[in-house]
Symmetry: C2
Subunit: 625 residues, 2 copies
């Protein structure tokens, strides 16, 4: 940081500390220990009282801040009465600690009600991360928080000198229907199948205002004034404005659980905004009224800086953007709205507050308008601009294996599921890692064969599954099969989107890989044809990421190196899509599993309970590349 110190004397001590921290002390790696109680809490994230899963009595969970190279140790006690829990550290690679990845059925047994488990893992590099539940739909129930890893002298960030201070925004969406009911709907058969619909509220750092975008005013007079003009000019009879006119304004005062977040900044500086999205469903767009944003980080990786008026962010992604406080000292709207699906949810609002502006001068003018939800071209323009910053590792040229994954929405035994190559993921009761550890793959899941690594190319991605020619449409199956990946293999994954069940509809899916970053080699429309398209892939400066978007009726190609033995989920980060089976499992380097010190208590459940007493089976034979 160039100069974190403003003119105010009161900040002096903090500034000294910050400067010491940023420039003069190379902090020695430490183990940072936390004790968390996970429990039900009554909370009003959007001013509507609801039960949520909280940590240490609060929502969202505590922000973890660490330095690159530190070890994080979180002792989690499960005080939920009947639910197991796990916590996934999104974006952390878990090098050598695959049992700490926090994925139920995959890396770990759920922490039992009344039990506890200590996650201990290295945060190997700086970046903007977060954590969340990864069991059932507990993320959507509120089990999440921020995880910020600061750069160090040993692992500096190339844009460190470009900013003076930072703020963090964890974005999410919130449903008034509880996740048990959401799951009941998604599990329903035939006419009982029920989609979750759009969220009621968008949240910024866990705060939103349901049914009242006027919540950010301080008093009724200001509210009434705003009703009259800024938000909704007289004569605007849109549903949104009618709703605003009907709505009550308060009391969304500061201090309540749903008062809007205000980020204080000083004029004439540059700020880093860390923005991460852990939405259940919504793709979001973030704007700061009157300010440009320069993107510098994506998913903990450095990107070639580029300037935009707004960013799109999909569930599972994170960005850092730099913002110059170069406008008239005042306060400005930060607006977060829905893209990619027809929005039924009001944009979330926060405030960028210049500290020397009048304390109760609230933002004026109209809130920034979210770009049209269905302007996919605009979304692609943003996404396609993201390139690795110079100095980023380049992908290996030689590829050992290519897996093509057709993304479809399928009918299956009266249910609606998402499927990859016509297989919908059905997770086992015994975590895969435990199954391999104890050598009981045969009883723990279907280990008779691997997941299919391509689909019948006569499948027409422009048509719904129901309209396919019979020979193109393999029968949909539910399976817990895995992809076995040999240690060290270089793997290309082609994500191939297709039409959903409804004609003319293809959805956006943000795919997230555990245990790895991957290079995003390219995107395209229509069907990926290797002979035609592989030459166009970007191997010069492809960005490294852990989450990547798959656009409607298009394809995305990514590459990763299987250098981290473990069982890793790769899945659509939309919670109800994963619930409906939209994911696959990579069992990577299982022949090296015995070299790891897997704690038995992490993997002893399901079928492993009856074999835990037995000596371990011989190590797994090497898998094909």
């Amino acid at each position: 940081m160039a100069n974190p110190c403003g003119p105010l004397a009161v900040h002096l001590l903090i500034c000294i500390a910050l400067m010491l921290f940023a420039h003069q002390v190379a902090p020695a790696p430490v183990t940072r220990r936390f004790k968390w109680d996970v429990e039900y809490i009554m909370w009003a994230p959007d001013c509507q009282q609801s039960v949520m899963i909280g940590i240490n009595g609060k929502f969202p969970g505590p922000t973890i801040t660490a330095n690159a190279g530190d070890v994080i140790s979180v002792e989690v006690t499960n005080n939920l009465h009947t639910e197991g829990i796990v916590i996934h550290w999104h974006g952390i690679k878990q090098i050598g600690t695959p049992w700490a990845d926090g994925t139920a059925s995959i890396s770990q047994c759920p922490i039992e009600s009344g039990g506890n488990f200590t996650y201990e893992f290295l945060v190997d590099k700086p970046g903007t991360f977060f954590y969340h539940g990864h069991f059932g739909m507990q993320r959507a129930a509120g089990l999440y928080g921020s995880l910020i890893v600061n750069a160090t002298d040993k692992q500096p960030e190339p844009f460190a000198a470009d900013y003076d201070g930072e703020h963090s925004m964890l974005l999410s969406d919130w449903y008034h229907e509880n996740v048990y009911a959401q799951a009941a709907g998604l599990d329903g058969k035939d006419k009982h199948w029920q989609w979750v619909g759009e969220p009621q509220t968008l949240l910024i750092n866990g705060r939103g205002q349901f049914g009242c975008s006027l919540g950010i005013t301080r008093d009724r007079r200001a509210c009434d004034r705003r009703k009259k003009d800024a938000f909704c000019p007289e004569g605007d009879k849109s549903e949104r404005c009618e709703m605003i006119r009907r709505s009550e304004c308060g009391p969304f005062c500061e201090g309540t659980k749903c008062s809007p977040v205000a980020f204080d900044v000083e004029p004439g500086k540059t700020y880093r905004l860390r923005i991460a999205s852990t939405t259940s469903l919504s793709a979001l767009n973030v704007q700061v009224q009157g300010h440009k944003l320069t993107v510098v980080e994506a998913d903990g990786n450095f990107v070639e800086p580029f300037e935009v008026t707004d960013i799109d962010i999909y569930s599972g992604e994170s960005y850092s953007v730099l913002l110059k406080t170069d406008q008239r000292p005042s306060s400005y709207w930060i607006s977060v709205g829905v893209r990619g699906r027809r929005p039924k949810t009001q944009p979330a609002l926060a405030i960028l507050n210049y500290t020397n502006s009048k304390p109760d001068s609230w933002p004026s003018g109209v809130t920034p308008e979210t770009p049209a939800w269905d302007n996919v071209t605009r979304s692609k323009e943003f996404t396609y601009r993201i390139k690795a910053r110079a100095g980023t590792a380049r992908p290996p040229a030689a590829v050992d294996r290519r897996i093509t994954m057709l993304n479809t929405q399928n009918r299956f035994k009266g249910h609606i599921k998402w499927a990859i190559n016509h297989v919908t993921l059905s997770l086992p009761a015994t975590p895969y890692l435990g199954a391999y550890f104890y050598g009981i793959e045969d009883v723990a899941f279907d280990a008779t064969a691997e997941s299919p690594d391509t689909y019948d190319r006569s499948y027409d991605i422009e048509k719904p599954p129901d309209a396919q020619a019979p020979e193109a449409m393999a029968p949909t199956t539910a399976s817990d099969r895995v992809f076995r990946i040999a240690s060290g293999a270089v793997v290309d994954v082609v994500l191939q989107n297709a039409n959903a069940l409804e004609a003319g509809v293809s959805e956006v899916h943000p795919w997230h890989l555990h245990g790895h970053d991957f290079w995003v080699l390219g995107y395209g429309d229509g069907v990926y044809e290797h002979e035609r398209d592989s030459g166009k892939l970007n191997t010069a400066n492809p960005p490294l990421r852990n989450t990547v978007v798959l656009f409607p009726h298009g394809w995305t190609v990514l590459r990763f190196v299987a250098d981290n033995p473990g069982v890793w989920a790769f899945h659509c980060h939309i919670e109800p899509h994963l619930h409906l089976g939209m994911g696959v499992i990579f069992a990577e380097g299982m022949e090296k599993l015995r070299e790891l010190n897997v704690p038995r208590e992490a993997v002893t459940c399901g079928a492993a309970k009856s074999v835990a007493a037995l000596p371990l089976a011989p190590a797994v034979a090497p898998s094909p590349p």
Copy 2:
């Protein structure tokens, strides 16, 4: 049954079958196998849509019907996504199968999400039973159903000849707030502590009508007519009547999930009504308009028949009553209302329908009025009349141990708890049965001492805990300690009620014992003084039960023989009271545990996971009587 056959020819075959069954065939004991999927379902038990825990897609769960001497085998698959489950077979003694008692933390590990467990147990005697979840508050979430064990020639019922047919009513109550929020409120500290309040609806066989006791009419005209007269005479401005006037009537037609139950009967017969209550909170009163009831069974035990106009039934209890269809052929209200707490819930209504009455002639006249909720004298009169039928086993005269249990509502670290001798039960993560089986009591729970078997007699039960003299008030503690009971011991338990936190308030608690029936030796007001009161106890014909009521500011004495090795809960059957710690644990005959064939998978969780690989520890030393 004397004559199960009515005059109608269509019933002939059924009648022949029934007669064969009842009189001519001594059914050989069989194993009755069931497969259950436990899952979330969207249901409308009181016409309001809600998520519930269902079995095989329905609420309530399927009725199990068996013959005395049969073995029930239920393979339960847990399809809840994050919750474990257990199922308790209420009133079944689990002779030799203590791991099948279905109590989480006590007899068994929760069945994991995605896992399954087969409960297999003997139903050793005829009677009216039920089953329900016994983990967290899953009973209140809808996880329950009926379990009817028919008499056989080998195990006849003394009143078999007195009735012609039977119907079954499982009573429950229903909250619109989900159990996770209920638990969050009960777990809350200081001002965040929140009592669950009164239920929104009472259910009969899983059906009720929220906010509209007119739901039982078939059409709007009849509804409007009823609004005018029968229910609420003009001029009655009571809140109840105002609510009825505001309410909508339909469409509560037959076939919807919330239409009222109609029990068809033929005139001039006698019917056995099996009535069981699995309410979360409410004590209930059951009446049948214009009909008397003769009580013949309580909790699967025969009682000396006595005639009443209505019965009180507490959560955890069951009764059989005989009803003569000696009224004018018509249809009659069955009304179930709240007693013991100031009711805020409309009575539930069902219909006793004489089959030869006009099919759409609905009951006329005012529904039977529930006796005043606070008329405790009337409640006691009913309860005190219950005596064992001649021929019932009498209790042993020699008592090995007497445990006195003071029931208080206590403040504890900012929470409100229920406590026994100032100890509030806090269940461990490792089930006790597993802890004893693996010999890891020391790590699994506080085995350093036993639960206290009495309280300081200077405690004034007429005063709140806060008003006690300091020397009378032991500090409240939370503990998972047990009572160790030697095999074969004869144990007397004195339940001593006291004042709650609010001055002048003492609540009704129905106490339920697992693994046993007990003799109810007596009740009294005030403090039980052994020297003064023991001589008045009834050892001549005390009724056998598994649940017994403790009246406000009074005492109840019961006796049981510790003839069934296992770890058994003894607790208030009010779900939120148990949640707040109102129970104790009897670890009975643990020195005989190794003679039982405890399935490892039933008890391998919590601390047992890390020792499951080890050989079993030496058997437990005999415990003192």
